[in-house]
Point group: C2
Chain length 215, copies 2
């Protein structure tokens, strides 16, 4: 299955600014992308990275479209094979097994919920389905599918739900992750304290955020 993976290599993950400077955010976002692409391939998918600007990514097809995310994704949905998946690039806990469930789920539209109300992954098999990745997109994607009488199924996966946007999202990645992004965090000094009620993020040698590295 063709799997569109939107990725912003220039200014990714700005909400991680309190704990990572811009250069680190770029590196970390690439590490997460790497984990997602490995899971996509492990599930038998063919990734197509959709980026607003060219960047180097070995052995992966990159399509550049500098329009806003929803417009760029919808342009892809309207070209190429009708059955297409869209999987976000900030899901470092996703597994090939979860993506197999996504790809194999029945229905004209398959949706995977994202923490906070978003849509972290979907499959469209209906020519009329369009995405709209504004805030709280999950409810609207359900409604969009209903408007075109598309059948919908939902995939219940923690790895698909847990996107990485804010510093608080990193703890579970450190606890659970065994891929490139988790290794990147550990290599850069992040640890979790599992002796409290809920694992909390720690970085003893934390640099001053946004300390103005030129990159």
């Amino acid at each position: 299955m063709r799997v569109i993976v939107p990725f912003d290599g220039e200014t990714p993950k700005t909400r991680l600014g309190p704990v990572l400077d811009q250069r680190e955010r770029r590196q970390f976002a690439r590490a997460m992308l790497n984990d997602v692409l490995r899971a996509v391939r492990g599930a038998g998918g063919t990734p197509l990275v959709l980026a607003p600007a060219p960047f180097d990514l070995p052995q992966t097809r990159v399509c550049v479209d500098d329009r806003r995310l929803s417009t760029a994704v919808n342009a892809q949905l309207q070209s190429g094979p009708m059955e297409t998946a869209v999987v976000m690039a900030d899901l470092p806990l996703v597994t090939p097994q979860a993506l197999e469930r996504l790809f194999d789920a029945p229905g004209d539209v398959v949706l995977a919920y994202g923490t906070g109300g978003g849509t972290n992954a979907l499959v469209s098999r209906h020519p009329g389905f369009r995405v709209d990745y504004h805030d709280g997109s999950y409810h609207d994607h359900l409604a969009n599918a209903g408007d075109i009488d598309a059948t919908v199924s939902e995939v219940d996966s923690y790895g698909l739900a847990h996107d990485i946007d804010e510093p608080g999202d990193l703890s579970d990645l450190l606890v659970r992750g065994d891929g490139t992004a988790a290794a990147w965090l550990r290599h850069h000094g992040f640890t979790v304290d599992e002796t409290s009620d809920r694992a909390t993020l720690q970085r003893p040698d934390a640099p001053h955020p946004e300390r103005g590295r030129s990159d």
Copy 2:
């Protein structure tokens, strides 16, 4: 399958104190328990509620054991049928389908990850497996299973992972929930703002927390 559901009806969910007083926390915890029991029965399980003190729960077997949680659960695991599930009572987004996946997963021990490093649900089919619900229990349950040469499988479910402990956990319940607990929150004035990057909790008529209701 026998499904142990530990539940503290007296002082539940203390970390929700900033947004719910004690009486509200008791009501809300009962609403979450109701959702979990319904899902357990929907998946064909037979719930056994394990509580530190007697309380009234129609048409459900309640076993009272005032020892600490792990001790009480292990006492149950050592009696009755060898195949037993343990499902936490604060998982209002759990579905019968997720529990069917838990019950049907292969292995001597089946584990479902809980946000922050915990173990929100498990199945034990090995007479030597013991639980230890201290902080960060997931890693230790994996290790415990390894120590007794038990085979392990893991279930990837957002509904099983998303336990409700802190005020920040309520947003996704309001966005996604369609059961008793979500209805209770809405009835008590909670809403979510889905116009921000991530849905955030709102309660315009919030009472002063811990305002000392006698209950």
